[in-house]
């Protein structure tokens, strides 16, 4: 019965040292400590990327929101003005980037929770889903504004749409910079989603 089938439970104390040398239990005991450090590193990197993405989203919203330009020439009846709320797509852009920046600010506590508790899967899955939705919103705002900015730079001869950038230079520059900022935020979101997926692995 002692040396029969069971090796780990019915072993006498003097051979338990031998069984410790064989180490059937040691990997399980040392596993959580080592993989916890790895997951913690991912969570810290996630937090830093979140900060950068928040700065990028806020900068994009601010650049688009303050993009008013008034041309120095005017006629007797009206002035030549360009602002972001002349185009509904740019209005959507400002609102969407502000929402995304607010979401990133509110998700910072959840990111800190994943740093403190590396093995909790709940906050990670929640962050992954919300990050995917925020990625979609950011890319939608950036893509739509990029289409309008492309039109403003190049115009379109087939539809008789004139390139307004030739007149409104400053407005165009600010708006293009805002689009670049939002696409940087989208790329950071892709990294955030991938990091959350990698940290969800069960080890």
């Amino acid at each position: 019965m002692k040396s029969g089938d069971s090796t780990t439970i019915n072993v006498p104390p003097e051979s338990s040292a031998v069984s410790k040398g064989k180490a059937p239990l040691l990997p399980v005991a040392a596993g959580p400590a080592s993989s916890g450090g790895w997951k913690k590193g991912i969570a810290i990197f996630d937090f830093i990327l979140r900060l950068f993405a928040m700065v990028a989203a806020l900068a994009a919203a601010a650049a688009m929101g303050t993009s008013d330009e008034t041309l120095p020439l005017f006629t007797q009846f009206f002035q030549f003005q360009a602002s972001y709320d002349d185009l509904p797509t740019f209005q959507f852009f400002v609102i969407a980037m502000a929402l995304v920046a607010g979401y990133l600010l509110l998700s910072l506590p959840f990111s800190i929770v994943t740093i403190v508790r590396p093995f909790a899967a709940g906050p990670r899955i929640l962050l992954l889903v919300l990050d995917t939705v925020a990625l979609t919103l950011t890319t939608a705002a950036g893509g739509a504004a990029a289409a309008i900015v492309y039109l403003a730079h190049n115009g379109n001869s087939n539809t008789n749409w004139m390139a307004i950038c030739q007149q409104y230079g400053d407005f165009c520059q600010k708006v293009s910079g805002a689009v670049v900022g939002s696409l940087i935020a989208a790329m950071l979101f892709v990294f955030l989603v991938v990091l959350s997926a990698m940290a969800l692995r069960r080890i």
């Binding site: 089938d5 360009a82 889903v129 995917t132 289409a147 069960r202």
Partner: protein
């Protein structure tokens, strides 16, 4: 005897977990097939637009095609790339149904799914902005609403957006299911 009993207990608790994991992977496979249909339909619907107005002057014909606007060309290309990727990822999805413990290949699939989601959303939102302009025009920039002349072209480009946005929603669900399958013990 005790070790044998421990093994039995371990085996019984693993079975329902494997069953749920298989169900999640199977649902992901079905969503992938649906997303393929959606994006392929969108690409074809946008790519076969061609409307010629019944009147013409001596010098120009009034014609509207999807490649008159570079944004629509990008839309067709993005939807084509995403539907091609979905077809190529179906074998991996089947492999995940069969072997629920695969982790590295699931993560690779999540990486590519996220990139494809971003590409699809960029194409869909850019052409949504152009379709909105085509419907409403813009008085401040003197951009004329072309939908008033090209009716069936307008309907076709608006309808092809639906498949693309459906594909976006399905991609979000696919990524969520992959995350659930990754985190199950």
């Amino acid at each position: 005897m005790k070790a044998g009993a421990a093994l039995d207990v371990g085996g019984a608790s693993k079975m329902p977990t494997t069953g749920i994991s298989r169900g999640v992977s199977a649902l992901g496979f079905i969503l992938r097939v649906l997303a393929f249909i959606c994006t392929l339909g969108s690409a074809i619907a946008m790519g076969t637009t061609n409307e010629t107005l019944p009147f013409f002057t001596r010098f120009i014909r009034f014609r509207a095609e999807y490649d008159d606007l570079p944004t629509f060309t990008f839309f067709v290309a993005a939807n084509g790339v995403v539907s091609g990727y979905l077809i190529l990822s179906l074998p991996f999805s089947i492999f995940h149904i069969m072997r629920s413990a695969a982790q590295n290949s699931r993560i690779v699939l999540v990486i590519f799914d996220t990139i494809m989601l971003a590409l699809l959303t960029a194409g869909a939102s850019a052409s949504a902005a152009i379709v909105y302009l085509a419907h409403k025009g813009n008085t401040k920039t003197n951009w004329f609403a072309i939908c008033q002349q090209f009716n069936s072209f307008c309907k076709r480009i608006s309808g092809s957006l639906i498949g693309s946005f459906g594909g976006i929603l399905l991609f979000i669900l696919i990524i969520l299911l992959a995350a659930i399958a990754l985190s199950r013990r």
